[in-house]
Every structure is written in structure tokens, then in C-alpha cells.
């Protein structure tokens, strides 16, 4: 029995190491000086240094990482909040009145399964007419579409879990609909709002395809900006700096995700199973 248990731990450690290997190796490489990288590609750093991070976090002509971070942050915030605003009233009428259950709900939920590239081409054309190309708002709007299906599902689950007696009691007390939703339903959904926001924010932050197609300069998000460091023009890739950029780019979603991993994994499961 003891042996069995030890074996399980070994399997866990092995799998965790293999699956997270690129993240670990990138972090380690970011701690190496350029001369050490060319001489020592192993996972043991001889003389750790923060110079790559200093380079990345210092604003220069070639690189302003805060620009990318701000673009990602603002677009991801729009992309997480907007779908909650439009989906919340819908979630309530759907759960309590069955409105839109037949057509609208399956339509929205199935959007999630469509290849994003299908929307990318027509959205590019639409954005070029609407002057939304290469803007943070434009990117945020698109990320809102990406997040809408799961947002609606999570909010529908949240509303459905509110005991109907609470709403009936408020109704008896003469509360009209705006008051009922604002004072009873909304506060009870607060935990779901937080989960939905974090989940949507991470998804939006990690999105790449739309950032690649719809932005060129002013609104380039972090994921796309990071890939610029791998363009091999002019003397190859500076691996240390590139690794530090990736650490900076991956950190915000990682921190959010690890702090709230229970809720994140829970909403992934419910999002998959109810769909």
C-alpha cells in the first residue's frame, strides 16, 4: 500500500514536470545572462541575474512592454465585463421565464465551438469600415464575443441556484422587476460575477488570433507583442530577453488562475458539462 502511494506521487511529480516544462524552462532561461545562454542551455543557472527583466521592464525605443500590457489589460477588461452586462438580464429571463431557451441560448452557447477564424475575416472588413482596426475598444468588443457563451452559461447556472422563494417573497412585498433584480438577484450572484470575470479576463488576455489580425501597432496585445521578439531579423533571437517577456506576459493570468484555481476548474467543468 505504501509502495502504491509512493508510485502515485512519482507519477504526479513526473507529469507535473513534463506538462509545465516549457514554463519552468522559460523562467530559468530568463535568469541567465546572454553569454551564459550561449554556453549553458541546461536547467541549472551558474550565475543568476535579473538583467533580462531589467531590459524588459525599461522603456526603450525598441520595446515598451507597458504599452502591450496596458493594451491587453484594457481589452481584456472590456472583453470580460461587457458580456456580463449583456448576458445577465438574459440569464434571468431565461431561467425564470424560459424566454430564449429554445433558440437564443443554444445559438449563443454553440458560438463557443465555432472556429474563431470564421469571424476573423468578416470582422476585419467590418472593423476597417468602422475605424475599429488597431483599437483597444475594437479588440475588447471582439473578445467580448469570445467570452459571451461561457459567461451566459455561468450566469444562467448562478441565477438557477437562487432559491425561487427569495424572489417570490420580494415579489409579495411588492418589489417590481428592476428592484427585484437589482436588490435580490444581483447581490446573490456576486460570487458568480467574480468567477465569470476572472475566467473571461484570463481567456481574453490569452487570446492571440484576433490580436494578430485586428491590431498592427497601437493596440497590439501582450501575446502578439511577445511573438515579435522571435522575429529572427537582425542577428537572431535574444533568448534571455524573449524569455523574460514571456514570463511577464504569462504572469497576470497565472497569478489570477492559481489564486482562484478552484473556481476556475469548477467553471470549466460546468461549462463543458452543461453545454
Amino acid at each position: 500500500m505504501k509502495l502504491h502511494l509512493a508510485l502515485r506521487w512519482i507519477v504526479f511529480a513526473f507529469v507535473a514536470l513534463i506538462m509545465n516544462f516549457p514554463v519552468i524552462a522559460t523562467f530559468i532561461t530568463a535568469l541567465k545572462s546572454p553569454s551564459e545562454i550561449s554556453r549553458n542551455p541546461s536547467l541549472v543557472v551558474d550565475s543568476p541575474t535579473l538583467e533580462n527583466f531589467v531590459t524588459v521592464l525599461t522603456v526603450s525605443d525598441r520595446l515598451n512592454v507597458y504599452h502591450y500590457l496596458w493594451n491587453s489589460f484594457s481589452a481584456a477588461t472590456i472583453g470580460a465585463i461587457l458580456p456580463m452586462l449583456v448576458a445577465f438580464p438574459m440569464a434571468w429571463v431565461m431561467v425564470r421565464r424560459g424566454y430564449g431557451r429554445a433558440l437564443l441560448f443554444p445559438l449563443i452557447v454553440n458560438l463557443r465551438a465555432l472556429p474563431l477564424i470564421i469571424f476573423a475575416v468578416p470582422l476585419y472588413l467590418m472593423f476597417s469600415v468602422a475605424y475599429l482596426l488597431d483599437t483597444r475598444i475594437g479588440l475588447g468588443l471582439v473578445l467580448a464575443i469570445v467570452n459571451l457563451p461561457l459567461t451566459l452559461m455561468l450566469l444562467v447556472n448562478a441565477v438557477a441556484e437562487i432559491p425561487i422563494e427569495l424572489e417570490e417573497a420580494a415579489h409579495m412585498d411588492g418589489a417590481r422587476l428592476p428592484r427585484l433584480i437589482g436588490r435580490v438577484v444581483l447581490p446573490l450572484c456576486r460570487p458568480a460575477f467574480i468567477t465569470t470575470f476572472v475566467f473571461g479576463f484570463i481567456t481574453a488576455w490569452n487570446e492571440f488570433l484576433f490580436g494578430l489580425i485586428l491590431t498592427t501597432q497601437r493596440a497590439v496585445p501582450m501575446t502578439v507583442g511577445a511573438s515579435f521578439f522571435f522575429a529572427t531579423s537582425g542577428g537572431g533571437v535574444q533568448w534571455g530577453v524573449a524569455a523574460a517577456v514571456m514570463v511577464v506576459a504569462a504572469l497576470p493570468p497565472l497569478i489570477l488562475g492559481l489564486v482562484m484555481y478552484r473556481r476556475i476548474s469548477g467553471s470549466m467543468v460546468s461549462g463543458a458539462v452543461k453545454g
Binding site: F12, V23, I117, I118, S128, L254
Partner: protein, 287 residues
């Protein structure tokens, strides 16, 4: 003024409907217009109607069929591997996870990292001079495969995708495994059922719907793959890793063939719609 309840419903549903009309309705109209027209980036606003010409072009393009075949193989293989590995981990590690919840956090880290970023990280990790993986291969075996060459690149991206998304299957199976009523297991173990038999005869059948859901979702995600392949190898040596999404992207932005890209996107939509409808029909029937 008091609204009737059906008016209330309409008011409450209107934000999402307007949102969809603006951001999806309009693009759908554009898709249809441009799918049946010839247009380029110089004269973006003046498409000329060419009927089914674009569809004809796409369906006669060997690149389109290669991309479809690539995506299909990629999706089937990765979905299978992810489900198999995820199921194994969920069941095998279950006794540990019951007491150590943090293990889940460690295992879902790959999913929280952007797939595009994963692709870039593997570019570093697999690099022949700066990457630790070829380094250790040389050190331990005196030899290293060139992971991104035409011959091995397909296996490499299969592994990359599988390692990132096995955690998703793992999460679903973990939830399904915990949801199996304890009485069933107890009853079986009173009858003297061995662990292996318990898994095949009792636990696996209970998790079959989850297996179906996980496989379906991973298949769809694998089929539409773009980010990690694109950042790791682009279209690959000789275009060998051109997935359906990469094909449409390149047709549109690299070659500027707007009408053709749109026609390909419409075809992809129709196929995706059929697959979704079929998948949901099968799921409903199995329940």
C-alpha cells in the same frame, strides 16, 4: 408605466440580442457578400459579384483539402491522447487529490498559459542551441532529433497540444470520478471486485458520458487549432502544418484573396455546424 411581462422579457433580452446583431449579424452579411464576390485590399469597398467562383477556387485548391486533412488528423489524435491521459491521471491520482487539493492547481497551470505563449516557449525549449531539451538529449543519448524538421514536426505539435490540454480532460474526469456514488463502489468491493475490474465494469461505464463530452470538446478545439502551431512553426516546413485556421489566415492576410478566404470560412462554418448538430444529437440520444 407598467410593462407587461412579455414586454419585460423583451427588454431584458434586448442587450444581448443587439450585441449579437451588431457584432455577428453584420459580419454574417459581409461574409455572404464577400464570399460571392471578388475583392482585394486595394479595392476593399468595391467587391464585384462573381457567383460561386470563390467556392469553385477553394474546392479545387489542394491546399484546402490538405489543411482539412491535417486538422482532422490533428484533432482525432490529440483528442484521443488527451482523453486517455486525462482519464488515467484522474483515476490514478484520485486517492492523492482527495487529501491534497493543491495538486489540481499544479496540473492546470498549462491551461492558464496562453496557447500562443506555449508555442513560443517551446520554440525556446526546443531550440537546437539555446533549448534545454536538445541539450539533454545530446548529453544523455549523444543524439537529438530535430524536433521542428519536416519529418518530426507533426509529432512535435501533437505532443505540444496534448501536454497543454490533457489537464482539461483530467478536470472533467476528476469531477465525474468524484461524482460516482460511493455506495456503488462499496457494494462492489463487498462482492470482492478487484480494483482493475471495478474500473472497467463499474467506474468507466459511469464516466462514459463525460468521456464523450471531453472527446468532443477536445476534437473541436483540435480541429480549429491556430495559436500554438502558428507561434511555434507558422505554416511549418513546406506548409506541412497548415491547419484549417492557418490556411484561411494565410489566404486572407498573406495572399490577400479575400473572396476565397471568405468562401473557405463559410465552408468551414457549414461543416462545423453539421458536426455540432450531429454531436449534440448523439449526446441527447445517449442520455
Amino acid at each position: 408605466m407598467r410593462l407587461s411581462s412579455s414586454q419585460e422579457n423583451a427588454v431584458l433580452a434586448s442587450p444581448v440580442v443587439l450585441f449579437l446583431l451588431a457584432l455577428l449579424g453584420f459580419p454574417v452579411v459581409l461574409s455572404v457578400v464577400y464570399g460571392f464576390s471578388e475583392a482585394n485590399f486595394q479595392a476593399l469597398m468595391s467587391p464585384t459579384f462573381v457567383g460561386l467562383e470563390n467556392f469553385h477556387l477553394v474546392l479545387n485548391d489542394i491546399g484546402f483539402w490538405n489543411a482539412a486533412w491535417f486538422s482532422l488528423r490533428f484533432a482525432v489524435i490529440t483528442a484521443f491522447l488527451e482523453c486517455a491521459l486525462g482519464l488515467f491521471l484522474a483515476v490514478y491520482l484520485a486517492p492523492l487529490i482527495r487529501n491534497h487539493g493543491w495538486m489540481v492547481a499544479v496540473l492546470i497551470i498549462p491551461m492558464i498559459v496562453a496557447p500562443a505563449m506555449m508555442g513560443l516557449m517551446y520554440r525556446l525549449v526546443l531550440h537546437e542551441f539555446a533549448g534545454p531539451i536538445p541539450f539533454y538529449f545530446y548529453q544523455w543519448f549523444g543524439w537529438s532529433p530535430s524536433f521542428l524538421s519536416a519529418k518530426t514536426v507533426f509529432q512535435t505539435i501533437i505532443v505540444v497540444e496534448t501536454l497543454q490540454w490533457t489537464p482539461f480532460a483530467f478536470l472533467l474526469f476528476m469531477a465525474a470520478y468524484q461524482a460516482i456514488p460511493q455506495e456503488i463502489r462499496e457494494a462492489a468491493s463487498v462482492d470482492g471486485t478487484r480494483p482493475w475490474r471495478m474500473f472497467w465494469k463499474i467506474e468507466l461505464p459511469q464516466m462514459l458520458p463525460t468521456l464523450f463530452v471531453a472527446g468532443f470538446i477536445r476534437f473541436i478545439d483540435g480541429f480549429r487549432v491556430f495559436d500554438n502551431i502558428y507561434t511555434l512553426v507558422g505554416a511549418g516546413p513546406g506548409g506541412s502544418t497548415t491547419s484549417m485556421s492557418i490556411y484561411i489566415y494565410e489566404t486572407f492576410l498573406r495572399r490577400g484573396e479575400i473572396g476565397k478566404a471568405m468562401a473557405a470560412a463559410i465552408l468551414l462554418f457549414l461543416v462545423a455546424f453539421l458536426v455540432l448538430a450531429l454531436g449534440q444529437y448523439l449526446m441527447r440520444r445517449s442520455q
